[in-house]
């Protein structure tokens, strides 16, 4: 439970950090940290917790940005499913496969956003220039994937450990009382 909450909080913080960075550098040059956190949560946590973190982070991003409420949340949930499916085939604990997968995921996320906007808001054609922009964003984001993955794993492991230790202490006390 604690790793889930911690990654959710970290994901929401990533959304805010992204917004702040987008004010300082062109939007395309800002790594999609919230997507990376979702990806990491999908790999580090269980499927259910990963889905909950993804939905929470996505909703947070929807609330802060100008997207339709639920748009990014929907995509993040789908991305968790895709990530877990791919993790069954590829070893995404290793840096390079993770970075390559993150590159593809950012690209798919952009196309997904455009598709959902087209579906719900009408006309939204994808221009070749925008695809190039997506490529830049994916290229900027991908190198951060192993780092974010490692941070998420460390946080999860540490909180899991302390939770296990707490439970063990409680168990010992119970046996002493008996």
């Amino acid at each position: 439970m604690r790793p889930t909450l911690a990654l959710l909080a970290l994901g929401l913080l990533a959304v805010l950090v992204q917004g702040g960075l987008a004010h300082l550098v062109p939007g395309r040059a800002v790594p999609d940290l919230s997507l990376l956190l979702t990806l990491a949560a999908a790999l580090v946590l269980g499927a259910g917790s990963g889905l909950l973190v993804a939905a929470g982070v996505g909703l947070g991003a929807d609330m802060v940005s100008g997207t339709l409420l639920g748009q990014l949340a929907c995509l993040r949930v789908l991305e968790v499913v895709v990530t877990r499916a791919i993790a069954g085939q590829l070893d995404l604990r290793r840096g390079l496969p993770l970075a390559v997968f993150a590159f593809a995921l950012v690209f798919l996320d952009g196309i997904g956003q455009a598709a959902l906007s087209w579906l719900f808001l009408g006309e939204f054609p994808l221009q070749p220039g925008e695809l190039l922009g997506l490529g830049v964003r994916a290229a900027v984001t991908a190198p951060f994937a192993p780092f974010v993955g490692a941070v998420a794993r460390r946080i999860s492991d540490r909180l899991d450990e302390s939770e296990a230790r707490r439970e063990m202490r409680l168990d010992t006390r119970r046996s002493v009382l008996r």
């Binding site: 917004g19 987008a22 909703l59 100008g66 997207t67 409420l69 939204f124 922009g133």
Partner: protein, 299 residues
């Protein structure tokens, strides 16, 4: 039974989340000015100070770099300038006066005088990180009388429209957003049309062509029709007329008059246009993003 439930727990959770988010999107699309969830207001409220905290140190480092580190030639320049100091001192008074009267301060003062509506200065603390949507996060909200539907501008021209507010923060949709459409006209020929955001850094002016009504270099201003923005705000200038004689609706590429990449402070017009007032009534609902496009369109 419990085994069965345990087995379908994950697919159920996935389906519930997916359907939930789709329902949220539909609801948000249909809301058309309805109130957003309290959580959205809360997050917006948290976002402004957090993003301000992030941008401040970077601004500080950038300013320090520009003022001190980047000036490696300062010593040499200083020597050269010393010789000119006496003359410059004499002229400095005149320059200061000129700066005050002809610089940005005067333009802002004029702008604030031109509009009878009070203008509220607000700091830009964040921008949309999404690749398709263009919005700004402002550090003023409902406590400063900022409401959804109020136009946002700078001395160079129109920036956009407030689309969501919390107590101390607001989000403004820029005219660059793909869902933005502003009823506009060519200042020279008074030819009317619609300025649409392309989601990139450019704008497009759609118009019904009549002779040479639209030419390269023409200034485009708000028409005041549509009841969203007041008349006469600068939007940008025409850079290229796309001549397609067969089409009824023609278009022209536009360069915005506002440098959106360098926005640090904007002004919120503390009065909504009549259409926005009708849309929101006396209430304080947030704007479902597509609404201004439709309103400005007259659809």
């Amino acid at each position: 039974m419990s085994d069965f439930l345990r087995r379908i727990r994950l697919p159920l959770l996935f389906a519930a989340l997916l359907l939930g988010t789709l329902a949220l999107m539909l609801g948000d699309r249909r809301a058309g000015g309805g109130e957003r969830h309290w959580a959205a207001h809360a997050l917006l409220e948290i976002a402004a100070p957090v993003q301000k905290t992030i941008t401040r140190p970077v601004h500080f480092v950038r300013d320090t770099w520009q003022r001190y580190v980047a000036l490696v030639d300062l010593q040499a320049e200083n020597e050269a300038l010393r010789a000119r100091i006496v003359r410059l001192e004499e002229e400095s008074l005149q320059f200061r006066e000129a700066l005050v009267t002809s610089g940005q301060l005067r333009r802002i003062a004029e702008m604030r005088r031109d509009f009878e509506v009070p203008l509220l200065p607000s700091e830009v603390v964040g921008q949309d990180a999404s690749p398709w949507f263009r919005s700004l996060l402002l550090d003023r909200g409902r406590s400063a009388e900022v409401r959804s539907g109020m136009p946002v501008m700078v001395d160079q021209g129109l920036v956009g429209l407030v689309s969501a507010t919390s107590l101390h923060a607001a989000r403004a949709m820029m005219i660059l957003d793909r869902r933005s459409a502003v009823d506009a006209m060519i200042q020279r020929s008074r030819a009317r049309g619609l300025v649409r955001g392309l989601g990139t850094g450019e704008l497009e002016f759609e118009f019904m062509v009549r002779g040479d009504d639209v030419q390269e270099g023409d200034e485009v201003i708000t028409s005041g029709v549509g009841g969203v923005y007041p008349k006469g705000l600068r939007i940008g200038s025409v850079t290229e007329v796309k001549a397609d004689r067969s089409a009824l609706l023609h278009s022209a590429a536009m360069k915005p008059s506002v440098d959106f990449g360098r926005l640090e402070q904007v002004f919120v017009m503390l009065r909504r246009g009549p259409t926005m007032e009708l849309l929101f009534g006396g209430g304080d609902g947030d704007l479902a993003e597509p609404a201004p496009a439709e309103v400005a369109d007259g659809r």
